[in-house]
Point group: C2
Chain length 453, copies 2
C-alpha cells in the first residue's frame, strides 16, 4: 500500500511543508467561489423542501434539529442527485439503487470489495491512474493490474490485457476509469473509444466503475457523453462527487448503479444490498449536514450545476491557457519537454527527459519555489518516472505563470546538470543546451549546485 498512500498524503499534506512554494501539485478546486456556499441558508432551503412547506419564517432551531440526527443508510438526497445526473450528464439513475457516500473515495472503498469478492478477482486500471483507486483496492487485498496502453490505443490495450489475464486463470471483475479529463493525465476518451471499451467490457462481464469528478469543467468543444449515458447493458456503475463542483469539505458523493448487471436485475439488487451493508459497517451514514448543503444547492439551481460551475470553469480555462502559453514560451519545439492540451478539467501531463520523483519534487519546491506532482505517484510501474502532473485548478493565472517559469528554471537546471560538460557553458541560452535523459537520481545537493550554475 505504501506508494499510493504516499501519493495521497503527498497531495494532501506536501503543500503545507512549503508554504511559500507555488503549488501546481494539488488537485483541489479553486477557493475563489466557495463563499457562495452559505451553509445555513442552503440547509434552510433543503429543509423547507424536505418538509414540503414554504414556511420562510422557519427558525434556525428546527432546521438544525432535523438535520443533526442520524439519517437513513442510503442517504437523503438521492432523488435530487438523480435529477441532476439526468440534466447535466444525460444519465438515468434510479434513486432506489443509489447510495450516498462520504466523498467518492468512500464510494471506491465500498464498491471494490463488494465487486471483487473472489480471491482471483482483479481490478483493472489505466496506468497511470488516480492513486486513491489503487490504494482502496490494495487496502482490501484486491489485485490491481493495468491496461497496456503504450504504444497501442486504450481499447486495443484493454482487449490484449483482458486476454492475457484470462489466460492466467484470473477474472477481471471491474475496470476503474476516469474517461473525461483523467486524473492524472487530463486525457479524454473519444466517443468511439468509449463504445469500444463498453463493448469489450460487456463481452467479458467486466463492470466499469466510471469516476467523473471533472466532467462538468469543459472549456471548449462538445462534451463526450459519460460511459453511463452510453451504457444499455448494465455495465457501468457511476460515481459522482461534489468535492470538485461544490466543496471538498462537504465529503458528499454517490454511487449510482445501473438498472441491471448485464441484464440481471436480481444481481444488481444483491450488489446494492451488499453496498448498503458495507456502508453501515464503514461509516454508518453520510453526514446529513453535508447532504443538506448539497441538497440546498441542487434545489436552488433546479438540479443543474451548469450555471454554478461556470465561474470556476472560466477560471480553470484561463489558467490552462496561461499554463500552456508559459510552457510554449519556455520550451521550443525542439525541446525534449512535451505536454498535452486537455480541453477541460484540472490537469495536464508533462514528459521530461529525466526522472522526476518525490525527492526531486521536494527539492524543486524547496529550491525553485514550485511544487509539481511526480507522475510515478500514480503509476503501478516505472513507466511514468519521466513525467509530472500539473494542476491548473488552483490560484490565479498570474500565479500559474510564475509557477511554470520557476518549473522551467528547475527543468533547465536538471538538463544542464545532465548534459553540460562544464560550468561555463551553462551560462549559454537554455535552448542551446542539448539535453540527454538523466536517468541517475540527482541528489538535492547536486540540484542546488546546478541552480547556482
Amino acid at each position: 500500500m505504501d506508494p499510493q498512500n504516499t501519493t495521497l498524503q503527498f497531495l494532501n499534506d506536501a503543500a503545507s511543508h512549503f508554504p511559500s512554494a507555488i503549488s501546481l501539485a494539488a488537485g483541489q478546486p479553486t477557493e475563489c467561489f466557495l463563499d457562495r456556499l452559505n451553509l445555513p441558508a442552503l440547509m434552510g432551503t433543503f429543509f423547507r423542501h424536505q418538509a414540503g412547506t414554504a414556511a420562510l419564517g422557519l427558525e434556525a432551531k428546527s432546521i438544525c434539529t432535523s438535520i443533526l440526527r442520524y439519517g437513513p443508510t442510503a442517504g437523503l438526497i438521492r432523488g435530487l442527485i438523480s435529477q441532476q445526473l439526468a440534466i447535466d450528464e444525460n444519465i438515468a439513475a434510479d434513486p432506489e439503487t443509489m447510495l450516498m457516500t462520504s466523498g467518492c473515495q468512500e464510494a471506491l472503498s465500498l464498491c471494490l470489495p463488494a465487486l471483487c469478492t473472489e480471491p482471483n478477482d482483479v481490478l483493472l486500471v489505466c496506468n497511470p491512474t488516480y492513486a486513491g483507486a489503487i490504494c482502496a483496492a490494495q487496502m482490501n487485498r484486491i489485485e490491481v493490474r493495468s491496461i497496456a496502453t503504450y504504444p497501442v490505443d486504450l481499447a486495443e490495450g484493454l482487449k490484449e490485457t483482458l486476454e492475457n489475464i484470462r489466460r492466467t486463470g484470473r477474472r477481471v471483475r471491474a475496470l476503474y476509469l476516469i474517461p473525461t479529463f483523467d486524473n492524472p493525465t487530463g486525457r479524454v476518451l473519444t466517443e468511439i473509444q468509449r463504445r469500444q471499451i463498453l463493448a469489450l467490457c460487456v463481452e467479458n462481464g467486466v463492470v466499469i466503475l466510471e469516476d467523473n469528478p471533472y466532467g462538468m469543467f469543459q472549456f471548449e468543444d462538445r462534451a463526450v457523453p459519460p460511459l453511463a449515458a452510453l451504457d444499455c447493458h448494465g455495465c457501468v456503475i457511476y460515481l459522482t462527487t461534489f468535492s470538485k463542483t461544490l466543496a471538498p469539505a462537504l465529503r458528499v458523493g454517490a454511487i449510482a448503479l445501473p438498472k441491471t448487471l448485464f441484464g440481471d436485475r436480481l444481481a444488481c439488487q444483491s450488489l446494492y444490498r451488499r453496498l448498503i451493508e458495507r456502508k453501515s459497517c464503514l461509516t454508518i451514514n453520510t453526514s446529513q449536514i453535508g447532504q443538506a448543503v448539497v441538497g440546498g444547492v441542487l434545489i436552488e439551481q433546479e438540479c443543474s450545476l451548469q450555471n454554478w460551475v461556470r465561474p470556476a470553469c472560466n477560471l480553470y480555462h484561463a489558467n490552462r491557457d496561461a499554463m500552456l502559453e508559459e510552457l510554449n514560451a519556455a520550451f521550443s519545439d525542439r525541446s525534449p519537454i512535451h505536454w498535452n492540451r486537455p480541453n477541460g478539467g484540472f490537469f495536464l501531463s508533462v514528459t521530461l527527459p529525466f526522472v522526476f520523483d518525490v525527492e526531486a519534487a521536494l527539492g524543486c519546491a524547496r529550491d525553485f519555489g514550485v511544487l509539481a506532482a511526480p507522475m510515478n505517484l500514480f503509476s503501478l510501474d516505472e513507466s511514468q518516472n519521466n513525467k509530472l502532473r500539473l494542476s491548473f485548478s488552483n490560484g490565479s493565472s498570474e500565479m500559474i505563470r510564475t509557477g511554470i517559469r520557476r518549473l522551467a528554471q528547475y527543468i533547465r537546471s536538471r538538463l544542464i546538470l545532465s548534459s553540460c560538460p562544464g560550468r561555463a557553458q551553462c551560462e549559454a541560452q537554455e535552448t542551446h543546451c542539448e539535453a540527454r535523459p538523466c536517468l541517475a537520481q540527482n541528489t538535492l545537493c547536486q540540484i542546488k549546485e546546478a541552480t547556482s550554475c
Copy 2:
C-alpha cells in the same frame, strides 16, 4: 456479515417503518437540545480561534472558505480534543498520535485491520457487544471470538478465553470493550475489574480498543476511570465520538493512541502511520465542517463537555427512572422478567422467559406499538435470544412510560400464549399467569392471536 448488518440497518431504519410505534430500540441521543448547535456561530468561533485573531467582524465569507477545503489527513482539532480528554476523562492523549475520523464507526474500520494484520489474528469481544464492531471486523475478514462471561466474571472469562485461543495457535490481537454503560447491556465494569482486564491484556500483548460513547452520561455515584486513564503500559487505544454528546450528523470521532505500544514507541508510531495511510484510502479526510462545529463547542466550553451534556444527562436520568418504575409496576418480583439498573448511559437489558428475535420485535412494533431491540442482534451465538435492549435516551419520560406499558402487554401476551391452557384463564391477572420459557419461535400470526386473547 449478515446478522450484524441487519442490526445496524434495523437500528438505523426500522423505526421509520413503524412511525406510530414508540421506539425504545434506537440508540440515538435525544433531539431536545440539538438547537444549541448554532452551526455558523460555532464555525465562526472555531475559525477565529484558528486564525489566532479576535476579529469579531469577520465575514461569513472567509469563515466558509477556510473550512470548505480539503484538510490534513489526521484532522484539524486534535489539540482541542486532547484537552477535552484530559479534563473530562483524565486521559493524557498526545495530539501527534491522534487521528480524526468520520464517527467512531470509521475509527473501528481503521483500527481493526491496522491491528489484526496476520491471518491468525483474532478480535475478542464481549457477548453481546456493539454490532458495528463485529461487522467492521467481518468486513475485513478478521475472526471475532467472544469472552466466555457466563456464569463467570468478565476478567476470569477473559483469562480462560485467552488460554483457550492460545491453545488453538491463534493470537488475540485486540479486545474491543465498552467498559462504561455498555452498548447493548448498560453494564459498567468496576475499577477492580478494569485493572484485572488491563493486567491480563498487558501480560498477553492484547491491545484494548476502548470505546466510550456514553461515559459522559453518569447519573449517580462516582464515575469509574476509563481504561485509558488507568493504562500505564501502552495497552489501550481510546476511541471517542461526538455523536452522542453533540450530534450524530457531525460524523466526528477520534482515535487516540497511547504513548507506546507495550513500551515500544516505534511500534506505536508505525501503527499511527498505518492508520493515517488507511484513512487516506478510506475517506481521504474528515469533513472540516463537522470538525469546525465540534471545535467551536470545545472552545466555547473551555474544552469540557460536562456542562454541555448536563441537560441531556438529566433527561436520560429521568427517563431511566421512569423506565425502571414502569418495569417494577408491570412485573412483580416473582415474575420471570429481569432487568438491570445502570447508573448512566442510554440502555438497559431485559431478560425474558421466551425468544425475542427480529420477527418478534417487528410484530411487537406493529401490534403493540412499541419497538425494542432483540439482544441477539448484538450476539455471536444464541445465548442472548431471550433478551432485549431498551433505550431510554429518546423521547420523554411519559413516552417511555407508555412504551414500557405497551411492551408489558406484549410480554404478557407472549407469556399467556406459551403457558395458558385455555383462553378463559387469560383474562386473569397477568401475575397469576405462571410463565414458562417459550423456546419455540412464535409466528406473528400466533402473536396476533394472543393479542386478541
